[in-house]
Symmetry: C2
Subunit: 326 residues, 2 copies
């Protein structure tokens, strides 16, 4: 009898990433990453997913002879029904009422567990990443938007109807920026990658000087958060200011989370961590300034360390946890 | 063998309330309430507590013959170490490093469980009050300050170092009002009883007309939140506006809590509930405007219904829960 493995499937708006994870978290085999290309439609994505899943399963059989595939964990963006295996609404994928669990079982006939993608990334980091072994943790995933996940007693907390953890939609300014969700002043409206790029563009429009202007040949709407981090690294004053401001906004949100949850760790996952100490030093300072001392003392604020594979590890772990508590 | 009872002791900055609660939550006997009078010092409070506890124990023996007293749950304000039974710091009581558990055991020799007072009030409401039987709930206690409690899977959530649940110290405006905790823009700085009275006084100072001026004979610092609720009830336009504004601030905080926790209930406890529908109707509206629809659909926002005894019921329940999970 060989070791037991779980397929971890991370379906993102940008990339599909799949790997086979050993059930003790000590091995990841055959990781495959491709572009999602959501615009090609659901069937196209599912066909490519199927091919990718088969390749990973083949790699597992080849590289770990005798390995047993016991299930599949799938992280998907959007609103989903874990019990039914249905993705109700995933705007980034153009999906509505997608019976994802059933469709994936047609590819490999193993039990499938569905989980929100941000939850998976956070769970991965708490399983074998930056917050390994932590009992209570909050994760923020910062990309196009700001997602989140809540770990309580070592397990994902889902809330009354599976929609807990929308950390990006804490109001940090009651009369603040309009958010994509319709609310005003959400953390996401200030600290998402989209908001970071937008804030840089706005400040340039208001007259600030920046190397970003040349970078995008004057087309300010082409500025990306990634460009802002790179410009900050190269010493661009405006970009540095935007990163510092981002840390302040994030700090207000994270301080609230410390006062509410008193967690052992806050893990920040996503492109924004590339800003490194330029982000984390002022973020720490802002949290210290705002949160209660005992909560600050109990908590470390860390960048995720699994990078691209956090969602794969976490999806596999979500499967294992759902099995264990079924 | 008679029924088993637990003493519930609610030590507040204003009142000491004690009663004997049957372990199934179906009976409360001998409730005693007196003024705390913290200014008379810790020994004085403890002496009066001792007398009160003995009277409640006597009432229990008299009114429920054969009843067995199995323990004592104590709700105390401030920072405390539940395991050691010590109140580290309770500014409202003038206590520091008070070995409350040991002192109370000298009065009645039963096991004692310590718990934060806001946690007790919320736990009481979730045990036999407005949120009875709910699995995940958030409670806000609005009085001098804004406290809170978090119920997850039917039990209090304490966090990494026992200081979770500081719901009053969510930032709702990063550059907003200075809060007593040192931070800026905390919910407490807008929606506590203190803040409600202060906002009314400020608006009168800025020229608004109100019956409150006569009520306090021109001494605006004498306005209390209670007076604001009463004036609103009597149709005072400014007071109504202050209550509506309070609902909006609270709504921003509660919407964040819905997006984070996706709870089945939010229970609001304290004097502010006297404002009734004048508070709860605009509060509901604000939460609907701000929070995610599925989270709104899953949650009801309700006033506590145990009023003065929520803390007593909750303290007793905290004892039972700590025993069950020791």
């Amino acid at each position: 009898m060989g070791d037991r493995y779980v397929l971890g499937v991370d379906i993102g708006g940008t990339k599909l990433i799949i790997g086979a994870v050993r059930e003790d978290g000590a091995d990841l085999v055959g990781t495959e990453s491709t572009w999602t290309q959501a615009e090609r439609g659901a069937d196209d994505i599912l066909e490519r997913l199927a091919a990718q899943i088969r390749r990973v399963a083949d790699a597992l059989a080849r590289e770990r002879p005798g390995a047993e595939l016991i299930g599949m964990g799938v992280g998907a963006p959007g609103a989903l029904d874990r019990a039914k295996g249905i993705v109700y609404l995933a705007p980034n994928l153009g999906w509505r009422d997608m019976p994802l669990g059933a469709r994936l079982r047609e590819i490999v006939d193993v039990p499938v567990a569905l989980e929100n993608d941000a939850n998976c990334a956070v769970l991965g980091e708490c399983w074998i990443g930056a917050a390994q072994g932590v009992r209570h943790a909050i994760g923020l995933t910062i990309g196009t938007g700001v997602g989140g996940g809540i770990i309580i007693d070592g397990r994902l907390y889902h809330g009354a109807s599976d929609c807990a953890g929308e950390i990006g939609h804490i109001t940090i300014d009651t009369e603040g920026r309009r958010c994509g969700c319709g609310n005003y002043g959400c953390l996401e409206a200030y600290a998402s990658g989209t908001a970071i790029a937008l804030r840089a563009a706005e400040q340039i429009e208001s007259g600030a000087d920046s190397s970003l202007v040349d970078r995008v040949e004057g087309n300010l709407r082409a500025i990306t958060a990634q460009m802002v981090y790179e410009a900050a690294e190269a010493g661009d004053v405006l970009a540095l200011e935007v990163v510092t401001e981002t840390a302040r906004f994030l700090g207000a949100g994270v301080a609230s989370l410390l006062n509410i949850f008193n967690p052992e760790a806050v893990v920040i996952v996503g492109g924004v961590t590339r800003a490194g100490p330029r982000l984390f030093v002022p973020l720490d300072r802002e949290v210290r300034r705002r949160a209660f001392k005992p909560a600050v003392a109990a908590c470390r604020i860390v960048p995720g360390k699994l990078l691209g594979t956090a969602g794969v590890w976490g999806a596999a772990k979500a499967f294992l946890d759902q099995q264990a508590h079924a």
